[in-house]
């Protein structure tokens, strides 16, 4: 049974959106800026008017105000109340809900402990680091024990390291609490790492919703494929475990070494950006290195895409402009392809 069901939701850029989010699921809403991701969260939270219907556990909640929807919302820029200290920020919703002072104290202390920010109790938002602010905002969103958690690009302002660390923690917390979560991002890596399912949204329409592998190996259309980086998808025949966590597969005559996760592999996917291009034979063992011929060059604003024929397979590889300029590449030129082992996705 879906915990949340969106029926023909229309608001701003979003047009007739239908989407189901399952109970205790971590759904990542993935799409470029302006695709309608935040609008959809605001609709679910009841913070804006909309056309269509939102169902929680099959009950229509369109008439319920935001305060009655039992939703925890973590906004993109967090918006911790600057005039309240950490304790009061977390306690805000509880105080509004007229909880008893000792209940408030107990719940806030529980959250401070859960998010390991007990030492910040009496600090004001301006005295906190980016990561600390994230934790406080998350604690505030969780204070009312919501049934649904909405996270609007909460890690976008953090540095790479802190973001990676908090992602892991967030996912763990979601599993522990078993709370249905919708996480909005435009970052594919974030989506892959955290999602039980991904819903790709573009120009206000859900293009595809499914498990990470489904999206990667069976992109529904060109838009989805482009958005996830136009992966090269290869069917595998032979499968041989080589030990030490690696295996060998045969893809139409190409013998490729892949990470072994203990399952038989049917398909592999490689993003064009995860394939290196070299003009000369690269040093090192002759593994995941293939000779090919450039058959097409496509120069876009962001990157240069090369179509390379190796054996009887056509692969897409990607180069940043500055590297492409340094190399003398042209159609018909022989090049070497190197596949990054840990970036190969397997089905």
């Amino acid at each position: 049974m879906p915990a949340i069901k969106l029926n023909n939701i229309s608001k701003y850029v979003c047009k007739n959106i239908n989407l189901e989010i399952f109970n205790k699921e971590f759904l990542v809403l993935l799409g470029p800026n302006g695709a309608g991701k935040s609008t959809l969260l605001n609709v679910i939270a009841g913070l804006i008017d909309y056309k269509g219907s939102v169902f929680f556990e099959n009950k229509c909640i369109d008439k319920l105000p935001a305060s009655k929807r039992k939703i925890g919302y973590l906004f993109q820029d967090l918006y911790l109340f600057p005039h309240l200290d950490v304790f009061s920020n977390i306690a805000y919703g509880l105080k509004i809900g007229r909880k008893k002072p000792n209940e408030i104290k107990y719940r806030v202390e529980e959250l401070l402990q859960m998010l390991r920010i007990e030492n910040l109790t009496h600090r004001y938002p301006k005295e906190l680091s980016g990561g600390e602010k994230q934790r406080v905002a998350l604690a505030r969103a969780l204070a009312l024990t919501p049934e649904v958690l909405l996270l609007d690009e909460p890690l976008s302002s953090l540095d790479l390291q802190s973001s990676k660390y908090l992602r892991r923690e967030l996912k763990q917390l979601q599993r522990t609490l078993g709370i249905t979560t919708i996480y909005v991002t435009h970052n594919l890596t974030e989506a892959e790492e955290m999602a039980d399912r991904i819903a790709i949204i573009e120009k206000g329409a859900i293009e595809q919703a499914g498990k990470v592998e489904e999206i990667f190996f069976y992109p529904k259309n060109e838009k989805v494929s482009e958005f996830i980086g136009a992966p090269n998808i290869l069917d595998c025949n032979g499968f041989r475990i080589l030990g030490k966590g690696i295996a060998e597969v045969d893809c139409r005559g190409l013998s490729i070494i892949i990470p072994d996760e203990g399952n038989k592999i049917k398909k592999i996917a490689m993003l064009p950006r995860d394939i290196y291009i070299a003009e000369l034979k690269p040093p090192g063992p002759d593994v995941n290195r293939f000779k090919g011929i450039i058959t097409d060059i496509n120069i876009s604003n962001e990157v240069v895409r090369l179509k390379v024929k190796t054996g009887n397979i056509n692969l897409l590889a990607e180069l940043p402009h500055h590297i492409f300029k340094r190399m003398s590449l042209g159609i018909g030129k022989e090049v070497f392809l190197i596949f990054k082992l840990r970036k190969i996705k397997c089905l």
């Binding site: 605001n42 913070l47 109340f81 509004i96 301006k126």
Partner: protein, 253 residues
């Protein structure tokens, strides 16, 4: 110990002492023609003592003080309330803004002739002038402060279950406090400047009136005493609101 340390004047007092010493010196060596036009500081202090001892200064000061206190209190409370309403409800803002935009630029003393005819020369007149002087700027600062609060804080509070009234009292007004205090600080000093001017022109009692009487008697020492009292009161009022602002907003703003 902390309080004791606070009472000891800091280095800021040094230029004041130097200024007073120079004043005394210039007057004493007759650099400006005689004590008549430029009395030394010691003479002003002596006159201050005299005026205080015979009750003249106290009586006039009390008149001015009560007028400022009553006029400013009513003006700022009305300005705050209407400013909050205008900042919070766009309908009220749309209805009142054109009128207030028209009236706001009129200087407080510009109302004096009209109010003299409407209210007569009595205690209500200076209070009404101070009311007008405080009301418009405080209203303007308050409504601007309320409007400037980032709407996303309101969205967050709403998502946490707060009603409109709770959002206004627990989020919007506290976040507008720096703007509100700016208005209160400036206008508390301005109220003193305006009351003195009003008393000089139209009201027979108060510090302003005492200055005008001193002028007719050519008592420059009394005029300076009054000016010092005025400066001190502007300073104290502004400092009082600065203290409140620091107390309520310094930690977070």
């Amino acid at each position: 110990m902390k309080i004791f340390r606070k009472l000891i004047p800091g280095w800021g007092v040094v230029p004041v002492i130097i200024f007073l010493m120079l004043w005394e010196l210039i007057a004493r060596v007759n650099l400006i023609s005689g004590h008549f036009f430029f009395p030394p500081f010691s003479m002003v202090v002596a006159e201050f003592y005299c005026l205080t001892a015979n009750g003249v200064l106290g009586k006039n000061f009390l008149s001015s003080f009560l007028r400022v206190l009553i006029g400013f209190s009513f003006g700022s409370i009305a300005g705050l309330l209407i400013g909050i309403l205008m900042g919070w409800k766009s309908l009220i803002d749309k209805a009142l803004n054109p009128i207030i935009s028209l009236i706001y630029p009129i200087p407080a003393l510009g109302w004096l002739p009209l109010l003299m005819l409407w209210l007569g020369i009595g205690e209500i007149l200076p209070i009404a002038i101070i009311f007008i002087c405080s009301f418009f700027p405080i209203l303007y600062n308050t409504s601007t402060g309320i409007k400037m609060v980032d709407k996303n804080y309101i969205r967050v509070a709403k998502s946490l279950g707060a009603s409109d009234r709770e959002i206004l009292t627990s989020i919007v007004i506290p976040l507008a406090l720096p703007n509100i205090f700016t208005g209160l600080k400036l206008e508390s000093g301005m109220a003193w400047r305006v009351i003195i001017a009003a008393e000089m022109v139209a009201i027979p009692t108060g510090i302003g009136a005492l200055m005008m009487k001193a002028e007719s008697l050519m008592r420059i020492d009394i005029i300076i005493v009054c000016l010092i009292v005025l400066a001190a009161m502007c300073f104290i009022f502004e400092r009082f609101f600065l203290f409140l602002e620091t107390r309520f907003t310094a930690r977070w703003s």
